[in-house]
Assembly symmetry: C2
Homo-oligomer: 317 residues x 2
């Protein structure tokens, strides 16, 4: 798999941004060691998802490209697929629940994708997507459970670890496990001593329980503010990779996630979405024990005004 990550990096050259790595003296003092933030909130479309989407879609055959691609997502993956489609001149279709936020739908359409709504009470997005794919010949680009997606997301850690190694600890947000498993593969490939720890909201702790019990657990529609982690479980591809390459999983409270978003806003002047702040939340809340220098993947910055307002006013300063 490490070879796939390195190959993905070559495909992404000149397409994905090599995002900045930010540091903060204040954060270093609080944590007691140097902390490097890999800022995927500055990535194209505002999240790491562009990496996996480009890596997967750019490998399609001419015939597949001609027929178009399809995905299901109401979040960052949808926008990433839509932009990659536009860049590679491939038609994209995105399946979204009827009640997806209008802003997310608009952003996806602005990148050029066709959005198809479905009733989440009547069917699942996976079923709708499979039906559409077989009917129209679309290639399905899943949000995380695919080796090319995993390899693409891993390039974020590849860039970080190459730039600042050695790291003792690397913290990665975990939703479906695509970013986490890819980053663990990349990090261990470059530096076997770096411990990779996945961070989840307490309210969406399926991956943590799956990791500890080595049995797949599911949490449907967890009410966490970290919307990027609302996937019900790890996938068939990502679960074994997480078991194999990840050192540990830890969870953080909703209050800790919001405190991290505020810290990144006020102290580092970074706009980070709740899912993107999980690693910093773990550090500030003491959920992980720092060892050596610490790397953190800031996974994205797509937060709407309502959510940011709520977080800033939850503890005014």
């Amino acid at each position: 798999m490490f070879a796939l990550v390195k190959a993905a990096r070559e495909r992404l050259r000149g397409q994905a941004l090599v995002t900045p790595i930010m540091t903060s003296r204040t954060l270093d003092q609080i944590v007691g060691t140097r902390v490097y933030l890999k800022c995927e909130n500055f990535q194209r479309t505002g999240a790491f998802k562009f990496r996996g989407a480009f890596n997967a879609i750019s490998q399609l055959s001419d015939l597949q490209r001609k027929r178009g691609v399809l995905t299901y997502s109401s979040g960052n993956h949808a926008q990433a697929v839509a932009l990659v489609g536009r860049l590679l001149d491939i038609q994209t279709t995105v399946v979204m629940p009827q009640d997806a936020p209008a802003t997310k739908r608009a952003a996806t359409e602005a990148y050029g994708a066709a959005v198809i709504e479905y009733d989440a009470r009547a069917t699942t997005r996976e079923k709708i997507a499979r039906d559409l794919a077989s009917k129209h010949g679309y290639t399905l680009i899943p949000p995380y459970d695919h080796p090319a997606i995993v390899a693409g997301q891993g390039t974020a850690a590849l860039e970080l670890v190459e730039a600042v190694k050695p790291l003792g600890l690397l913290l990665v947000p975990c939703g479906g496990g695509g970013l986490l498993s890819g980053c663990a593969i990349a990090s261990k490939g470059l530096d076997p001593h770096c411990q990779v720890v996945g961070i989840e909201p307490e309210l969406a702790d399926d991956a943590t329980r799956s990791f500890r019990t080595r049995t797949l657990h599911t949490v449907n529609n967890p009410p966490t503010i970290a919307d990027g982690t609302r996937t019900p479980s790890l996938g068939r591809v990502t679960f074994p990779l997480v078991l194999q390459h990840v050192a540990d999983m830890q969870t953080v409270s909703e209050a800790a996630i919001m405190a991290a978003v505020r810290f990144l806003f006020y102290r580092m002047k970074l706009v980070v979405e709740p899912s993107g702040a999980l690693g910093v939340a773990a550090l500030l809340a003491g959920a992980v024990k720092p060892q050596g220098h610490v790397g953190v993947i800031i996974s994205g910055g797509n937060i709407d005004g309502t959510t940011m307002t709520m977080i800033l006013n939850a503890a005014p300063r």
Copy 2:
């Protein structure tokens, strides 16, 4: 004066951050050319003010250091002076109006300064400061009207122009004119063809009128959201420098400033205070005519939650 800017850069080495330069394909497309943002919101204390304060205070004699320094400011300059005092082990006193926001006072005290309140209806901050300085032997570090402050602020443009020259246009926020005149000196020193344009809020257009008429105009307590530009006028040092080195001045509306803060938040994931967004506001509002590549000084990112909430909700997305 250009030599003073270069000397300031040597003094600031290892103390001030060489802040990142950010770009955005979206912004480039809107403006029609490459735009480079010099991100002083990432500077220590969250604003460019650290540069001038360190440059001025680090040049004091041993006797002056022993007696301590004093300034008047309720904003970013106060925090900068307080931090520099702590770094150089010099006692700092900051004169603030009684009605200064509690958060600003707390931030200044957190850096170690003693805060002295005064009644803005009964006296002026300059008079209080002069009285205290003569009584205690403090050295006054004014917020902008001092050659060492001007030279320190100019290092922001020095770093930007060196990194990305040639620029056709450089946009700089203007309050008291310290940042503007310093950046104009630095920019013209490196590249005489770069036109430096100062940007002010329409509601605080004293410098624009002073520039056009070559006579000093004053606007007291302008009700602009861009609190960093609420200084009543250019200074005795900065006014002649602005006349000599600045190519033009332009103003932007409050709505344009807020739109720029939102653009920087949503599209670039940057937390920027209203004063810091003036250059981007001018570009988005068409207040300046881009020529060649464009540089913009993002002067700071110290915005409170209440103000950001108001701006994000002024035009929800």
